[in-house]
Amino acid sequence: MTEPLQSFDWKNSNYERPANTWVCGHMCQSGEPCRLGPDSRGECQLQSQCQPEEKDGKYFCTRSTINGGKCKEGPTRDGTCCQSDSRCQPRRSLFAKRRLLGMIAAMVAALFSLVVFSGSSPSSLLIPGEVTASHANIESDCNACHTAAEGGFATWIHSALDSKTLLNDSERCLKCHSDLGSDALFPHGVSIDRLSKITDQVRLNQESSTAPLALQLSSLTSPPAPKDKLACSTCHQEHHGRKADLTHLTDLQCQTCHTRQFESFEHGHPGLGDYPYQRRSGIYFDHQQHLNRYFKADEFKRTMPQGQKPESCNSCHSADSTGKIMLTGSFKNMCASCHEPQIKDVEFPGIPFFALPVIAPEIMISQGEWPHIKGTFKTARLPRLMELLLEHDPKYQSALQQLGTIDYRILNNLDKKHNAAIVEIAWSVKRLLYDVTVSGELALEQRLGNSHPEYKNLQPSIIPTLLLAQQIWFPDLATEMDLYQENKLIPAQDRAESSQKSIPFTIDNSNGWSLSDSDFTIRYRPLGHADPLLKGWLNRAVQERRASMNSDHLWQIISNPTASGLEDSQGALASGRCLLCHSIDQDSKTGLSQINWLPSPGQHSQERFTDFSHAPHLLTGTQNQCAICHAFEKSESNNTPILKQDYFVRDRSNLFWTVNVNCEETCTSGFQPINQKTCVTCHNKSTATQSCLECHNYHAHTKQRALKKLSTD
C-alpha cells in the first residue's frame, strides 16, 4: 500500500491560486516550487542568498525562514553568503496563457476586421457571397446597388443609422430596371389610388374563402403596410450565389398583404372573371362570324387566301419565338384577299387637299390667270388643309368677313358687290401656292403654326404635287405676284397661250397624290392597307387632337362608310376605315390616346398582373385544342353580337363615326371567359403547378419576368 500523494492538511497543503498570472519556474521545471512563488509582476521572490550580519568579528547567516532559513554552511570568512543564486524564471499560469491567447485572438480579429472595413470603398473580402448571374457584371461595383458604398467606414455608420437606406438602395435598382413604372416601389408597382381601387373591387366580390391557418397566425405579426413603399430587397435577396432564384416567393408570402386569402388555386382562388377578355382586342375581329360563316360557306371560298379556307386556329395564329403569345398572321397573308378591295375602294376619287374654287372670268378681269372658270365647285367649303393654311391669312379672313357665310358652290352667284372679296380669295389661294413654290414644306409649317400638328409633314408630301399644280395652273405666278404687289393690273392670258408656256409634265399617281385638271383639285387616294399618310395623320390626330377630331372634315370623310368623301356621292365603301378595325386606347394617367395598329397587347403600357404563356399549353398535339380554353359564347343563333353599342358611335348627324376609347366597355370578344375548372384539371396539388407565380406578375408593369420565365421553360 503506497502513501497518498496529496496531503490536505493545512501545513502541507498550500492554498492553490490557479487564477494567479505567474507560477514558480522551479515548479514547472522540476516540480520543486519555492514557498513564496513569483510576485504579481512575474519576478521570483526567492532570496537564496542573504546579506550576512557581522557580530563580534564573526559573520552570521541572516536568511529568513521563508527563504529556507539559516544555512548550515553559514557565511564565508570574508562575509559573503556561501549559497548560490537559485532564483527561477517564473512562468505564466494556464489561466494567464488562456487570457493572453484570448487577447491575441481578439486583436487578430479586430485587426482583420479593421483591414476589411478600412478604405474608401468596401473590400472584396466583405462581399457576403456571389450575386446572381444576371447581376454578375456589376458585382465588383458595390456602389451600383448600395448607397453605403459611396464612402468609407463613417459613411457605413451613417447608412446603418439611416432609416431610408433600403429605399435609397432600391432607387439604384430602378436605374437599370426602369421598365417597372413610376410607382415601382409601391406594392405591385401601381399607385396607392389604383391599389385602393383594386382592393375595393376585391372586397366587393362576395365569394367566400378561408385563409390558411399560417396566414391567420402571421397576420398577428406585422405584414407590410400597403401604403408604404417596399424595398426591392423585401422579396429579392441577393448575394446567395450565381444560381439563386431572386424571384422565389411562396404562395403564403404572396398572399400576406392580400385582402382575400385562400388555400390554393384549386381551393378558394377567386373566379377568373372575364379573363382574358377584360379589354377588347387591339384589332376588332368577329371570330364567330368568320369561323361559323365565312370560313364555312363555300360562297366565300374564292375570296380566301389562295382559295383555301382556314381549317383551324393555327391557320391564322402561331406562337411567337418565345411561345408566350399567339401571333396573328399579317393583314397581307390573312385578311387582304377579302378586305383589301374594300380598303382600296376603287371608286373613291380621293381625299381633296387642295382645290381651286370656280370663279367666273368676269370677276377675275385684270387679275391674272385663274384656270377654274367653268363648272360647279362640289363642296360648300374648301378642303380642310386649305382652310387651315388660309386661316392666318388676314386678307383671306377679311374677304370671308365681307362675304359672311360662304358657300363655294354658289360663289359666282353672289351679288356683284362681293366681287372684290371673291378676287381677294383668289389672290389668297395664289399667294398660298406662291409661298409653297418659294418655301416648300416650310411655308406649310409657318402657315399652320402650332395648331393642327396632324397636318404637318404629311408623308408622302403634298409639296411636289402643289409645285406641279402651280406649273400647270399658274405658270406665270411669280410675275403675277410681283405685279399684284405693285397694285398693277394683270391681263389674263389666253388659256391656250399659257398652256404653250407650261412645261410638259407627267402625273405620277403612285404615291397616292393626284392632280385633276378637270376640277382643279389635288387629292390623295389611300394606297391600300397601312397607308402611310392616313396612318401618320391618324396617329397625330388621335394623340394630340382627339377631342376635336370628330369635327375634323378630313376625319368625317375617311370615317364616312356611306360616302366616298363627297357629300353628294354614293360610294360603295369609304377609304380610310382604319379605325373600324384598329381600336384606340387612352392612357388613364396621361390621357394620351394611341391607335392599336398591331393586335398584340405588347404595345400597351397597362398593368399586367396575370401572365400566360401559350407554349406549355400547346404541347398536347390535340386537334382544336385552342377551343378547350377559348370557347365561343353560347347563343341561340351563331351570330352573337360582340360589339357593344358604343364601340362605334354615330355623331348627331348620324353620318360620321365618333371614336370611343373606353376599351373595357366597347366590345366583347365573342368568347366565353376562361373557365377556372379547365385550368384546375392540370394546375392542381398533384401536379404542383398551382403556385401564384405560375400565372401572376408581382410587378404589373414589367415584361421581364415573363420573358425570363419563358426562357427557363
Binding site: L5, G129, H240
Partner: protein, 274 residues
C-alpha cells in the same frame, strides 16, 4: 440522481419548446416578408453577449446573482438555443463571402468546442474517480517529482551490497523517461492500458534474473510505476478538461468582434434598421 434526471428532462422539454417557438416565429415572420435574417441575427448577438457574460460572472464570484452551477446550466441552454438561431440565420447553408465564412467558422468552432467541453465536463469526472488518487492539477509536477525521487532512492541508495546493476540498468533503459515527465497522454485519453501491460511484461521478464532483495525492490518499483501511471492519467484527463477552454474562450472574443463588425456591415449595406 433522480433530481438531476428530472432537471435534464425539464431542460430538454424547454429546449424543444423554445426551439419550436423560434422556428414557428421565423416561419410566420417569413410569410409576412419580414427581415427574418436580421431578427435572428440580432437575437443571436444578444445570445452571444449573454453567453459571454458567464465568463464575467466567474470573475465576480462575490455577487449574489445565482451560483456558478446555475449559470453554467443557463450558459449551456442558451448556447444550444443559439445554434438554432444560427442555423436559421445562415439559412442552413455555408456562407460564400470570406468575412462571413470566417464568422461562420468562428461561431461553429466556439459552439462545437463548447459542446465538447460540455461532454467532457460530464464524462471526465467519472473517469477521474475510477483511477488513481484525487489530486490538484497544479500540484501534479510536485507529485511526479516525489515519485521520481522515491524511485531514485530505491534504485541508487544502496545500503545492501547484494544489489547488482540489473535494476539500475533496467531503470535507465525503460523507466527514466517514464518518471521524468507526463507520458502516454493520448493512451490515457483513449482509456488504453497497453503501455502498462508492456511495462509489466518487462518487469516480469526481469524478475527471474534477480535475487530476492532485488525482487523486493522491483516490486516496490512496480508500485511506483502504477502510482506514476495513475498520476499521468489524472494529468491527461484534467489537462483535457482545461485545454478545450483554450479554444472556446479566446475564439469567443474573436466571435464578438466579428459579429459586431458584421452587424455594422449588415445595417449599412442591407439597410436593416430601416
Amino acid at each position: 440522481m433522480r433530481n438531476l434526471f428530472f432537471q435534464q428532462r425539464i431542460a430538454l422539454t424547454a429546449f424543444v419548446f423554445l426551439s419550436a417557438i423560434i422556428f414557428g416565429a421565423y416561419y410566420l415572420f417569413s410569410i409576412t416578408l419580414s427581415n427574418t435574417s436580421f431578427a435572428c441575427g440580432v437575437t443571436l448577438l444578444i445570445f452571444i453577449f449573454i453567453l459571454s457574460s458567464y465568463q464575467l460572472r466567474k470573475k465576480l464570484p462575490f455577487l449574489s446573482i445565482g451560483n456558478t452551477s446555475t449559470w453554467l446550466h443557463f450558459h449551456i441552454f442558451v448556447g444550444l438555443l443559439s445554434s438554432v438561431l444560427f442555423l436559421l440565420h445562415i439559412k442552413m447553408r455555408i456562407p460564400d463571402g470570406l468575412f462571413e465564412f470566417i464568422l461562420f467558422l468562428t461561431y461553429s468552432t466556439v459552439f462545437l468546442s463548447g459542446v465538447i467541453g460540455w461532454i467532457l465536463s460530464r464524462s471526465v469526472p467519472y473517469r477521474l474517480l475510477s483511477r488513481g488518487e484525487e489530486v490538484i492539477f497544479e500540484r501534479i509536477p510536485i507529485h511526479r517529482r516525489t515519485i521520481h525521487n522515491k524511485v531514485k532512492v530505491l534504485i541508487f541508495d544502496k545500503p545492501n551490497p547484494d544489489l547488482g546493476s540489473a535494476i539500475p540498468d533496467f531503470y535507465h533503459k525503460h523507466l527514466q523517461s517514464f518518471f521524468s515527465g507526463p507520458c502516454n497522454q493520448m493512451r490515457h485519453l483513449l482509456h488504453s492500458k497497453r503501455h502498462r501491460h508492456q511495462l509489466s511484461q518487462r518487469f516480469s521478464a526481469l524478475m527471474p534474473y534477480l535475487n530476492e532483495q532485488e525482487q523486493t525492490v522491483l516490486h516496490q518499483l512496480e508500485e511506483q510505476v502504477q502510482l506514476k501511471d495513475d498520476l499521468d492519467y489524472q494529468y491527461a484527463l484534467q489537462a483535457t478538461m482545461k485545454l478545450w477552454l483554450f479554444v472556446h474562450i479566446p475564439l469567443t472574443y474573436s466571435l464578438i468582434i466579428f459579429a459586431l463588425f458584421h452587424t455594422i456591415a449588415v445595417c449599412a449595406f442591407a439597410g436593416t434598421i430601416g
